[in-house]
């Protein structure tokens, strides 16, 4: 047996007992340590634990760019930083307000107000206190991470409209998502998300908005990001290409300058919108960063309605442009012989009431009626056709209903009918109303886009082109209202005469060399004109011109409205001519030079105000 393996030594019981006591002392020592932390200092550590936490930082997806038909950028996005105020620790915020006021130049009162406004939202959602941080602001936040952990930076993608107010009403603008939208899409939107609010930004919001990413980070008690829990990359929005031609748009915008009104230029074969103007307008860049409440209220309540897209939303009397519908109805319905002639002494009496004409036109047939825009001729045509037929053709040619353009909030306009009057005004149709409607006054209301499509339809034999702004759009449906060749020929000859014949209402002022430019003028009284005249306010009529080229099966159709512009021939027609000219210049390889409508000499006579009711200017 080896020497060590002999049980000849007693076990040191005393020392083992001592070891036990030491072990117990060790455990007591440790328990005292835990007691200090968990009982004595537990409040302090609970506070520190609260400052440890998860922060969710959104990665904002850039919205898709908008390009014109040739790929030129109309709208894009750029990265910028927002400064967030984290609200999960009220005590910390209180201490930080002073330094934030000094460092970022945001008044304490403003900060408190913003915090108060957000008090019902969950605490973990931060408040954006500075949407567009400057370099100095960013540096301030970065350098005060330790002592101002309530501040955080968020990279955002802001919308940029490099052309400012060009095409603004069509493009629309973006803004913070509304509560209704959030309720409809609770999974998609959170407060503060940017969505399209109007125009194309709204229409194609789903395509261009992309999907925001999210980075969840763990921050420690001094606000330092310790690690990233997960990182979902943002998916950028898809770019969209528009049918807009920036060159034509520029020409139209320049011509409009500060005039009030609208213009729409379309490819008359496809319905592609080449240019769209609405005046007065706004700068969508103002909305890209949070728009100040005051400025928003001003834009929204401005009586000149700068936010309205007049090309699709202005519902106005078409004036003499409506005579194209009358002529078409007369020829197509065959209710009146094509060689119908009227003697115009400068006025006519119907149902005991005198209706004026601009001139005494003498003997007038259909061609002269269109070319010289003789009201008396069309009063008679209207009386013979009756409101039902007028209604049928106006509606058939697309008036009084939406064109279906890919923009939100298009207005339908109105073509009055007997039914409508009975439904709305609860009385029978007055035959005298038919006389007013015959020259595009009275209850008839159209939008510029409807007139453009109507004229194109008459010139192409009855195809109602589908107006659209999205290039390569699928699912486009043309309407059809077939017209006989004979009708098309006679009416388009009339419209050719308006521009090119010596007695045309444009007096030959908008003729274009080598281009078969045609069209129809309109000068429409503003609703309530009589009343306003009585009040002594001088309010000029709305000038209309819808032009197209060539004479039949046109390439391009352009409708222009100059509100308060007076004669359509002098206010609207030159703008349309410039756009059509630019279109052909470009087609022939010349880059268009924006010209202005101002250099066109005004028509000889200025129209006297105080004209009798129903009198219609060419």
């Amino acid at each position: 047996m080896p020497s060590w393996n002999v049980n000849d030594q007693r076990i040191p019981q005393g020392r083992l007992a001592l070891f036990s006591y030491l072990s117990a002392a060790m455990v007591i020592f440790l328990l005292v340590g835990f007691w200090k932390l968990q009982v004595v200092q537990s409040v302090h550590f609970a506070d520190l634990a609260e400052r440890n936490g998860i922060r969710s930082i959104a990665i904002i997806a850039p919205r898709g760019t908008m390009l014109d038909r040739e790929g030129r950028v109309l709208v894009d996005s750029y990265p910028s930083f927002s400064i967030l105020l984290l609200r999960d620790n009220p005590k910390l915020i209180e201490k930080s307000l002073g330094p934030i006021e000094d460092g970022l130049g945001i008044a304490k009162e403003d900060l408190l107000q913003q915090l108060d406004a957000a008090k019902n939202e969950p605490k973990f959602l931060p408040v954006i206190i500075k949407p567009a941080a400057s370099q100095a602001d960013i540096a301030f936040v970065e350098s005060h991470r330790a002592d101002l952990p309530v501040l955080e930076l968020m990279m955002v993608q802001r919308r940029r409209y490099p052309h400012g107010d060009m095409l603004a009403n069509t493009i629309g603008y973006v803004g913070e998502v509304s509560e209704q939208d959030m309720e409809k899409n609770p999974d998609r939107y959170r407060p503060g998300d940017i969505v399209g609010k109007a125009g194309l930004e709204k229409q194609y919001n789903e395509q261009i908005e992309g999907t925001d990413g999210m980075r969840r980070v763990v921050v420690n008690s001094v606000g330092k990001v310790m690690r990233t829990l997960d990182n979902v990359e943002a998916i950028p929005g898809k770019p969209i290409q528009l049918t807009i031609d920036e060159d034509l748009q520029q020409v139209a915008e320049t011509d409009f300058a500060n005039k009030e009104g609208a213009l729409i230029a379309m490819d008359a074969r496809t319905g592609e919108v080449l240019a769209m103007v609405s005046r007065p307008t706004f700068d969508p860049n103002d909305f890209a960063i949070r728009i100040p409440n005051q400025e928003w209220a001003q834009l929204n309540s401005d009586p000149r309605t700068p936010l309205l897209n007049r090309a699709i939303q202005a519902q106005l009397a078409p004036g003499s442009v409506f005579k194209v519908v009358m002529a078409t109805a007369m020829l197509e319905s065959k209710a009146i012989p094509a060689n119908y002639t009227v003697y115009c002494p400068g006025y006519a009496t119907f149902y005991g009431r005198v209706f004026h004409c601009d001139h005494a036109h003498g003997s007038v047939d259909l061609h002269k009626g269109i070319v010289a825009s003789c009201d008396v001729y069309f009063y008679n045509v209207g009386k013979l056709l009756g409101i039902d037929r007028i209604d049928q053709y106006a509606f058939g040619l697309g008036l009084g209903r939406r064109t279906g353009i890919d923009l939100p909030s298009e207005e339908p306009g109105l073509v009055p009918s007997e039914d409508w009057v009975e439904r709305v005004d609860h009385h029978k149709w007055y035959p005298g109303s038919t006389i007013s409607v015959s020259i595009g006054q009275g209850a008839v209301m159209v939008t510029p886009i409807q007139l453009a499509r109507m004229i194109a339809a008459v010139a192409n034999g009855g195809t109602l082109i589908p107006p659209h702004l999205m290039k390569n759009a699928t699912d486009l449906k043309s309407g059809s209202f077939p017209l006989s060749d004979d009708t098309v020929q006679q009416v388009t000859d009339g419209m050719w005469g308006v521009v090119n014949e010596p007695d045309g209402t444009t007096s030959g002022l908008v003729r274009l060399q080598n281009i078969d430019f045609s069209g129809k003028t309109g000068t429409a009284q503003v609703e309530g004109f009589e009343l306003q005249t009585k009040l002594g306010k001088k309010l000029k009529e709305n000038g209309w011109f819808v032009g197209y080229a060539p004479r039949r099966n046109p390439d391009i159709v352009v409708a222009a409205l100059v509100q308060g512009g007076g004669w359509g021939s002098t206010s609207a027609a030159p703008i349309v001519r410039d756009v059509v000219k630019a279109y052909y210049d470009k087609k022939n390889g010349h880059m268009p030079q924006p010209s202005t409508a101002e250099n066109i000499p005004p028509a000889g006579a200025s129209r006297p105000l105080g004209a009798a009711a129903g009198a219609q200017r060419p």
Partner: protein, 366 residues
């Protein structure tokens, strides 16, 4: 004459305490990891416990006297193993601690070295015939201990290296150390600490950092001091009653460093509060007292040394780990026995307890 040791002679009380501690460990591992990429770790830990139990049974069958007969061979094999680790060891997290045994099994030799040092030193102390250890005894014990300590430090694994020392210290205490020698030893340690501090350039950067952090935690709340600071936050915020199972924000959000292993006591302290910590530490005290009881009842001094060697290592683990969690000691990577997740460490504890069972089962055998 020799009776066969019987299974009834197992220390069932000890096993009960071990089961309770292991069970709390498995639950806390589940709580710490179920919501993370490491979910399911508790099953691995249970498998290790099962393997440990099998190993315990096995080692309890081999008479500890037989093991002690082989002490020189075991010691030589252990040292050889440590050298192999240094040369061809499998490197993980910047330290060479594992030998690949093929497949997924990586053997941490230093854990086995703990068992070997218990047996080797028990044999040495049992051979001492005098009432007091002589200086030459102390020197030999020192050399026997410091060779593996040095090799393990070289891996580098400061924690495991340190763990070997208490086996020698506790053994010396029972073998009878002259108070003068003890005093000189203490003075030497007191002198060596500053000397070691001056030698810190020879330490790995992370070791320097850990010591620096321990000495000045407030200077480094975002770096290495972060671990201790976060551990303290977790423990302190747990309060008296705790935040509830699976509800500790510091634990669940991962602020507690290696919350399933070295800092599992911090995770438990947050979720179960001071009450839970009391339960755990008292269970450990019960474990130690039960081990001491086994030492008292050992048939011979050799058996006592074996049991107390195991006790010294386990006690040291608990002391150092719990102290680290509350910021009383630097981060050394010493796990909490039976609770911290870890295959080799868990297996070691059960094998060590197998030695204790071994001694107990043979107390009446002659």
């Amino acid at each position: 004459m020799k009776d066969r040791p019987r299974i009834q002679d197992f220390d069932w009380t000890l096993l009960g305490i071990v089961g309770a501690i292991s069970g709390m460990g498995v639950l806390e591992i589940y709580s710490s990891t179920h919501a993370s990429a490491m979910a399911g770790m508790q099953w691995k830990q249970l498998i290790w416990i099962a393997i440990g139990l099998a190993g315990m049974l096995l080692i309890s069958r081999i008479d500890y006297h037989t093991l002690m007969d082989q002490a020189p061979t075991l010691y030589a094999a252990g040292i050889a193993g440590l050298l192999v680790v240094l040369v061809i060891g499998y490197s993980r997290l910047g330290a060479k601690r594992w030998i690949s045994l093929g497949g997924l099994v990586n053997l941490q030799v230093s854990e086995i070295m703990k068992l070997i040092i218990i047996i080797v030193l028990a044999r040495y102390f049992a051979e001492v015939r005098t009432e007091r250890l002589t200086l030459s005894d102390l020197l030999k014990i020192g050399i026997l201990t410091l060779i593996p300590v040095g090799l393990i430090l070289k891996q580098p694994d400061l924690g495991t290296a340190m763990v070997l020392v208490p086996v020698a210290v506790v053994g010396a205490f029972f073998a009878g150390i002259h108070w003068k020698h003890a005093a000189v030893g203490l003075i030497l340690v007191a002198l060596l600490v500053p000397l070691g501090w001056n030698m810190r350039r020879h330490l790995k950067p992370y070791q320097q950092q850990r010591i620096q952090t321990f000495l000045h935690p407030e200077e480094d709340q975002r770096g290495a001091g972060y671990q201790i600071f976060q551990s303290e936050i977790a423990v302190g915020s747990g309060g008296f009653w705790g935040k509830g199972f699976g509800k500790g924000s510091q634990n669940q959000l991962g602020f507690v460093p290696v919350r399933y292993s070295d800092f599992i006591l911090a995770a438990l302290a947050e979720e179960q509060g001071f009450i839970g910590v009391c339960l755990v530490l008292l269970l450990y005290l019960g474990l130690i007292l039960r081990l001491v009881d086994n030492a008292q009842k050992a048939k011979d001094r050799a058996g006592m040394y074996v049991v107390m060697g195991v006790t010294a290592i386990l006690g040291f683990h608990v002391l150092v780990n719990a102290s680290m969690v509350i910021g009383y000691m630097p981060v050394t990577g010493i796990p909490l026995p039976l609770m911290s997740y870890g295959g080799s460490a868990t297996a070691f504890v059960f094998l060590a307890l197998g030695l204790v069972m071994n001694v107990r089962m043979r107390r009446f055998v002659n």
